[in-house]
Symmetry: D2
Subunit: 345 residues, 4 copies
C-alpha cells in the first residue's frame, strides 16, 4: 500500500503516519518528492491495509498495490483447481454444462427436462427449490418437495444436482439432496452465508453479485475458502447496467481475467445475463469461445407455464441445438495465449 | 399490464395469449391497431403479472402499468406513517438524527460518542456489533460483547439503540438489545432475512441495496411488511456508480420520490454514500434540505483508531457543527409543493 | 405509444389528452379499466410520440410501443446491408478485420504495421490522424501529415484506409484520404457531425457512445442515414461501467441483438473495450464467435513508443496469432438460430 | 506517478522502465520491496504520465498520484473565480439563477417567460436555438430566428442570454447574440468544440458529459481553459444510471467536491437531472442548500405545447414558488466547514 501525502503536508503529519505503520506491525518507506511525499507500506497484513489512512491529517489518498485475496489467488496457487462433483469434473481443462429448470415445479416437467438435457450432453442438473424473488407475492419455491423431485430426476438420469441455498437455516435440508450448492447474486455478499457454506464439504457455485466487480467476486470466494472449502466455481451472470435490452450486462473479458487472477473454474450463466431466450444461446456460445470452463442454463419443456423466469428458458430442442453447435467450437485458451506471449519475448 | 404483440402476429397467437389471461383469472382487452395489436390485462393479481408473457409466440414485449408493491404504497395508505422507537418519533413531520460509531469497539469510545452526539442533538445511537466486510480478513464485529456496550451507552444516555442484524440466526440475540434493527445494503435483497424481521415486532431501518432502484427498495420493504410489520424506515445510502470520487452516488431526488410513492419515513446515510468525512456533512445537510425525515451518521472520537470505516467518521465536534447548522435550515416539503400544485390548477 | 392515466384521473383530463392526440394528427383509443384508464395512440409520426405527455394533468406515464428508428431498422429493410469499401465487403455474410495503429506516428511504423496486418489477413488499415484525448496536454494527432502517411501505407499494401473525423471542419481534409470514416465514442451523439457525414458519400463506422444503449446507438445511425447515406457500420467498443478491471464493458449479447433490430453490419473493437493487450484477443475471438461481422483492432510494432493507447495495442505477432486462431472458428449465426426456431414451431 | 512491478520482475525489466523515465525527461526513484518493486516518477510533465507504462515487460500497474488538470485546479489558483456576465456575477460568493424555455419557440412564449422569471428573481435567460435531440425526426431548433427572439426578450427584460452552441460552424452566429455559451452533455467531450470556444471571449457554461466523472468534467474545462479562456462555469446535470425513476442521477456531493478541487463556479441543472417537473424544484433547492453557486432551470408557460422537454419544464408560478422558498434558505458552505476543520486541529 502506498500513502500519498498532500502538497505541503508537514513533517509532523508524515511522522504520525510512519509511527502508526510501525505500531500496526509493518515497515514504512518514505519518499520525499519535490511536490508530494509518498510513503510505502512494506508488509501485507490485511488489517494494516484496511486502516483508515485518509483519516490522518495531511494524507491525500491511499493506493492499494496488492490484491486482498489469497486462497482464491493464482499467485499462491498457480495450477488450476479441478473440481469433482460425483465424478463430473470441471476446471483444469474439463468443461461442464449444467442445465435444468429455473424453479422446480412438477415431477413430470423436471424429469422430462433432466432426460432431455442429459441426452443433449448436459452433465449436471440444476433447479431451484428455494427462490429469491423481488416480489413477496410471487412463487417462493417448493421447498423440500422440490428437493425430492430433483432427487427423483437424479435417480432417473444419474445427473448430479445443483440447487440454491438462500439462508443458513436451509443448509441442513439442502445438503441432504444437493451435490453442489449454488449461491445466488443477491446473496453473493451475504457474508454469513458464505462462511457457513465454507464450513460444509460440498462444492459451491458462486454467482457474482448484482453489481460486484471481478475482485469483489473473488473476495466472496475468499470468504468461502477462508473457512476451509477449496471447491468454489465462479459463475458469471452479468451485472446491472443502464442498457435496457437485457436483464444484465455480461462482459466476456471477465472470463480470461478471472482465470488469470484465480485458479478456480469460471462458468457462464447466460440465462440470467440476457434474460431472453433469443439470446441465451449466442452468449453461451461466445462464453465458451472465450474459454469458459462451463455453462449453467435454464431449460424448460413449457416456458409459458414455468413458475419463474420462463422468458429466459430454452426449450429442450433449443438446448440440443446449442450443444450440437458447441461440438464444433474451438475455444480460446488464455493459457495458450500466455504461453505464446512468454515464448515470444 | 399491457402485452404488445409483434407486427404481423397471427390471430392464433393473439388468441393463445387471451386464453391464458383468462385461465390465470384475469380479463383481456384486445386492441387491434393498424400495425400492432395491444392486449390489456385487467385484474391485478401479482402472479398473473409475473407470467413469462414474452415466452408466448408473437409477443414483442410486456409493459407493466402498475407498481408491484401494495403495503408500502401511498396509494393504499395515503397518510404518513409515524414510527415510535422508545418515545423517539420519526416520519409524519417528525425528524430524527441517529449517530454513533460504525463498529462497536471499546466501551469508553462508545459511551463518549453517545454522550457527545446526545449533547449535540442526536435522538438515537447507532453502532454495529456484527459487521458485513468485503474481506474475511478484516474485523468482523464484536458480537454480544458489542451489544452489551451499546446497552451501557443507552443506560448512560437514554438514547435508544439501532444495530444491524446480518442473518436469521443473529435475530434472537440482537433483539434482546436493540430498539430498532438495521438491514444493510448487502442484505437488502436477502429475502429470507427480510421476512424473518417482518415477523418480529421492532422497527426496521432498511437500506437500499448496493445497486437497487427506488422501486426495488420499496419491494424489499414490501417483503418485511408482507409478514405483518408496518414500522419500516427507508434509508438511502447511495448506489454503485462509475464515479470514483465517492464510495457511492446518492441522488437526493429519491427523497421526495420515495415520499410520494410511499408513506414510510425516508432517512439519509451520507457516511456510506460519500465514504469521506469531508463531504458527509454537506450531503447530510442537502438531504435534510430536500425534506428527508432524518439522518443516520457515523461519529467516532478517534477515527484513526476506528475498527472500520474511520475515513468516513465525523468527529464529535464535526457532528456538533452540522447539528447547529441544521438548526437554521428551512427544509423543502414535497407535500407543501403538492398542495401548491393542486391549488394552482 | 400508450398513455397511462393516474388512478382517478377525471373525464376532463382524459378528454384533454384525447383532444391533443387528434390535434397532433393521430387517433386515440381509450380503454377505461377498473382502476386506470389507458389511451393508445394510433399513428406513428415521430413528432407526436415526443410530445410531453406527462405534462398533461392526470397522466401517470407514457410508454413507447414502437422503436423510433426507421432507416436503420430491419422492420423496414429486412435483408442485410452489405457495404463495399474499395472492393472489401462487410455485412451480409462477409466478415472483415480492420487493424492498425491507434495514432499515426512515423511512416516507418505505419507502413511496417500495414504490411504485417495485411500478411496476417487484415483487409483494411486503421489509424488516427486526429485524436480525441481526455487531456489537452497529450498528443492530439498528426493532422494532414498523418493522413499522408496513411496514404503511403495504402499505396504500399493496397489496404483501404479507415480514419476518424472529429469535427465538421475536418471533413474536407479527411475525405481526401479516407476510404471509410470513423466516428468515435465521444462524438457518437454529436448530432451535427452525424448529419454532416450523412451528407457525404463514404461509409461510416459508427462507435457506440461512452454510455449509450443499443437503441441510442441505432438512433445515432439513424441521424447519419436520415441524410441519405446507407453505408453505416455499427461498432461496439464497450460502455462505461463500475467494473475497474477494464476500460469499458462490452456485452456480446449486443451483437445478435443489433443484428436482429437492424440490417447494418456490426463489428467489435476490443482494443477500446478491454484497454489491455492481454484481453484484446480473447474478446475479439468471442465477438466473432458471437457472430460479429468484423473486428477493428489496434496493432503497433512497438507499443511502448506508441503515441497513444500503447497499453492496448497488439504486437504484429499477437495479431497474427489471433488471425490464425480465427481461421478455425465456427461462428454463431443468429440467423441460423432464427431459422431453426421458426422451423421448430 | 507510481509504477508497480510484477512479483518477480527481473532486474532488466526494472532497468528498462527506469531508462525510459529518464529518456522522457523525468527522474526515477526505485523502491525494492520484499515482494514487489515500486518505481516513483518524479517530474510531472503530462506527456510522461500518459506513456503506456503497462506495455513494458514486468509492469503490473501504473498509479496516478496527481491530477491531470492545472488551470482548472485550485492548487494552482487558490481563490474563487468570479465570472461577470453583462454585470451579473457568479462564483466567489455570488449566486445566480438562470431560467427560460428549453427550446426557443414563439416570441410570445419566450418574452412572457423572460418577464416572469425576471419578476421571480432570475438574473439570466436561457433558451436553445440549436437542440441536440436523440432522434433526427424531432424538432432540431429554430436557428437564427430563435436567437433573434432571445435578443428581443433581452431587450424587453435586460436579462443576459445563455444559449447552446453545438458545433464549431455555429460559433460565429451564436456569439453575435449570446452573452454566455452553453456546452451540452453530449458535447462535453467534443474536444474540438471545447478548444474552439476556449479561443473566444465569452463565458462558457460547461455541462458534465452523459457519463463523465468529476475529474473528466474538470478535464473538459481544462480543454477550454488551455486555449486562454478563464470564464468557465461547471454545470451538473446528472449522469446516466440504472435507476429508472429519473432521467439522470445527480449526486449533490459533487458540488462541494468540485468546489474544493477547482476555483470555478458550480451550478445545478435539475431540469435535466430529474427530467420530471415534480422533482425539479426539490433537487434545485437541495443543490443550493449544498452550496451550489447557482441554478439553470427550464421554465415554460405552457409545457404541453413546448417543442422539447416539456415534461421537465416548471410553470412560471412553480419557479416563483421555488425562488420564494430559496429566499429563506441558509446554504451549506464547504469553505466555512474547511475553516472550522482547520481551526479545530
Amino acid at each position: 500500500m502506498i500513502i500519498v501525502m498532500k502538497n505541503g503536508a508537514s513533517a509532523e503529519e508524515i511522522e504520525e503516519v510512519v509511527k502508526h505503520i510501525k505500531i500496526w506491525g509493518a515497515q514504512a518507506h518514505v519518499d520525499r518528492g519535490e511536490v508530494q511525499t509518498v510513503i510505502g507500506i512494506i508488509g501485507d497484513k490485511a488489517e494494516i491495509l484496511r486502516k483508515p489512512w485518509t483519516s490522518f491529517a495531511g494524507v491525500e489518498k491511499a493506493l492499494e498495490v496488492s490484491d486482498p485475496f489469497k486462497k482464491a489467488s493464482r499467485k499462491f496457487h498457480p495450477s488450476d483447481t479441478t473440481i469433482d462433483i460425483e465424478g463430473v469434473k470441471i476446471g483444469g481443462g474439463h468443461t461442464c454444462v449444467i442445465a435444468g429448470p429455473c424453479s422446480v415445479d412438477t415431477e413430470e416437467y423436471v424429469v422430462t427436462t433432466a432426460k432431455a438435457v442429459k441426452a443433449a450432453g448436459a452433465k449436471m442438473l440444476r433447479g431451484g427449490a428455494f427462490k429469491p424473488r423481488t416480489s413477496p407475492y410471487t412463487f417462493q419455491g417448493s421447498g423440500e418437495d422440490g428437493l425430492k423431485i430433483l432427487q427423483t430426476a437424479k435417480q432417473e438420469t444419474g445427473l448430479p444436482i445443483v440447487t440454491e441455498v438462500m439462508s443458513i437455516d436451509q443448509i441442513d435440508l439442502v445438503y441432504k439432496y444437493a451435490d453442489a450448492i449454488q449461491i445466488g447474486a443477491r446473496n453473493a455478499q451475504n457474508f454469513n452465508l458464505l462462511k457457513a457454506v465454507g464450513k460444509m464439504n460440498k462444492p459451491v457455485i458462486l454467482k457474482n453479485g448484482v453489481a460486484t466487480t471481478a475482485k469483489e467476486h473473488l473476495m466472496s470466494a475468499e470468504y468461502v475458502m477462508s473457512e476451509g472449502l477449496n471447491d468454489v466455481i465462479l459463475c458469471l451472470r452479468g451485472t446491472r447496467s443502464y442498457e435496457t435490452a437485457f436483464r444484465n450486462a455480461l462482459d466476456v473479458a471477465l472470463i480470461p481475467y478471472l482465470q488469470e487472477l484465480s485458479h478456480l473454474p469460471v462458468i457462464v450463466d447466460s440465462s440470467h445475463s440476457t434474460g431472453a431466450r433469443a439470446y441465451v444461446s449466442s452468449v453461451a456460445y461466445a462464453g465458451m469461445a472465450a474459454g469458459a470452463d462451463g455453462l449453467i442454463l435454464e431449460v424448460h419443456p413449457n416456458p409459458c407455464e414455468a413458475l419463474s423466469d420462463g422468458e429466459q428458458a430454452l426449450l429442450p430442442r433449443d438446448f440440443d441445438f446449442l450443444m450440437k453447435k458447441l461440438d464444433g467450437l474451438k475455444a480460446w485458451s488464455q493459457k495458450e495465449w500466455n504461453r505464446f506471449d512468454k515464448a515470444a519475448k
